[in-house]
Subunit: 221 residues, 2 copies
DNA sequence: AAATGTATTTTGATTAGTCAAAATGCAAGT
DNA sequence: ACTTGCATTTTGACTAATCAAAATACATTT
């Protein structure tokens, strides 16, 4: 069985492979895992000999099929646990990330299956992030529309928050821009770099463009 | 923060101090933790310098006040988690021990408090073992009556199972001698070493004396 | 009192994961 | 092409936890 450290390296690699078209640079893992570069090199080499990663020297790493399967399993645990903590134990939406970070390595598949069933097999966690199913299939996440690029004056629903830092989550919480919330972009001004939004309550919110890019929206449904 | 290994040593010491009047021999820890004797000596010395245990050479160990507080915290996590797995997630009563063994080191006090509240602050886990409260106070467990020494022909209630091995739990499950069950001792024969019991259903069960000593009973209430 | 047997401790080695700091390779800019 | 700067790798060392096997202490029996 993979140690928690190995699971963390796999998960970090998985979470970075989109934005790095496949090969994840060592620096990304250094940053994500909070260790010094030399440690990543050592770990990555060890994991490569175990067949979990491919290591291209001075380039970065790629997940092997086995590594990806394990990483998806960890991600599934993380996101189901987060959902459970929020929905069942009524924990604060913005404080569950670190809790899940610890629990994802201790929850067995047996317990996970019970949690999944208990929650009614959800497909997204409280942040709107897709939850891989038991076979490791995850909803396609490419081509998502954010408040940075959405239609104007159209009623939308927030579906996902792309930044999980406590500060940002607290801000989202405060403004009500949480997954599920009704929102409309009333004006987008590229020159001044801001997006003007309106909530169902009539409340008006102004966001900078890079911040707007962190709020994924979809059709009302 | 204590590592899971340290937490396991502390918990094992706590669980053995009753039956060893205070000083727990090294061999008990060897057995409980499944390591070789030399490992226990090394760990115990390290923990003694950290102020968690007192080590009397060639005698055994004693918990310090700090060590006991930590051990009670771990025991509380273990038993609340077990209760949660059975009551909320409907897991099998006899399979939750090992799950709790892993989760007890990953559940934060914040999560534990939510679980405790969610469950309505239970005072005993599914096996009837008392759950320490948040201040580390645990119900007195001495002077418990078991089927080995109980009154004859008196309606009793099973309150606790003192053996948590999967085999024994499966047996208890099968016979229905679970905590909460109605039971009556119809005859006890010291010579042949057996106890004859009767369940509410009229079903008759015969137990050997050492086995009867593992089933704690109390008044019906 | 000597011998025996068992529990415990010591010693030396191993594995996983880490850091510090020096060495190396590579891409860009001049 | 040369240099500069940054990312990565190497090297040597450290901690936590473990085992194997030899050494030691102690209680019990003879």
């Amino acid at each position: 069985m993979a140690t928690s450290t190995v699971e963390n390296y796999l998960k970090a690699t998985l979470l970075h492979e989109q934005e790095c078209d496949g090969i994840v640079p060592m620096g990304a893992l250094v940053e994500a895992l909070g260790v010094v570069p030399g440690t990543v090199t050592t770990m990555v080499k060890a994991m490569a000999t175990q067949g979990l990663l491919e290591h291209e020297s001075r380039q970065g790493v790629r997940l092997t099929p086995i590594g990806r399967a394990l990483a998806l399993g960890v991600l599934r645990k993380h996101r189901l646990v987060e959902t459970f903590l929020v929905q069942t134990l009524k924990m604060d939406w913005s404080e569950v990330h670190e809790e899940a970070e610890a629990l994802e390595h201790a929850v067995s598949n047996r317990v996970l299956e019970r949690i999944d069933e208990f929650l009614g097999r959800p497909t997204a966690d409280p942040h709107g992030d897709p939850i891989p199913d038991a076979t490791g299939t995850i909803a396609d996440t490419a081509a998502q529309v954010t408040l940075q690029g959405s239609a104007i004056n159209k009623a939308l629903r927030v579906t996902r928050i792309l930044d999980q830092t406590p500060d940002f989550l607290a801000y989202v919480q405060e403004t009500g821009l949480k997954p599920g919330a009704w929102v409309k972009v009333v004006r987008r001004d590229e020159t001044s770099g801001v997006v003007h939004c309106e909530m169902k309550t009539g409340q008006k919110i102004t966001l900078g463009l890079p911040v707007a890019a962190k709020i994924v929206v979809g059709a009302l449904v």
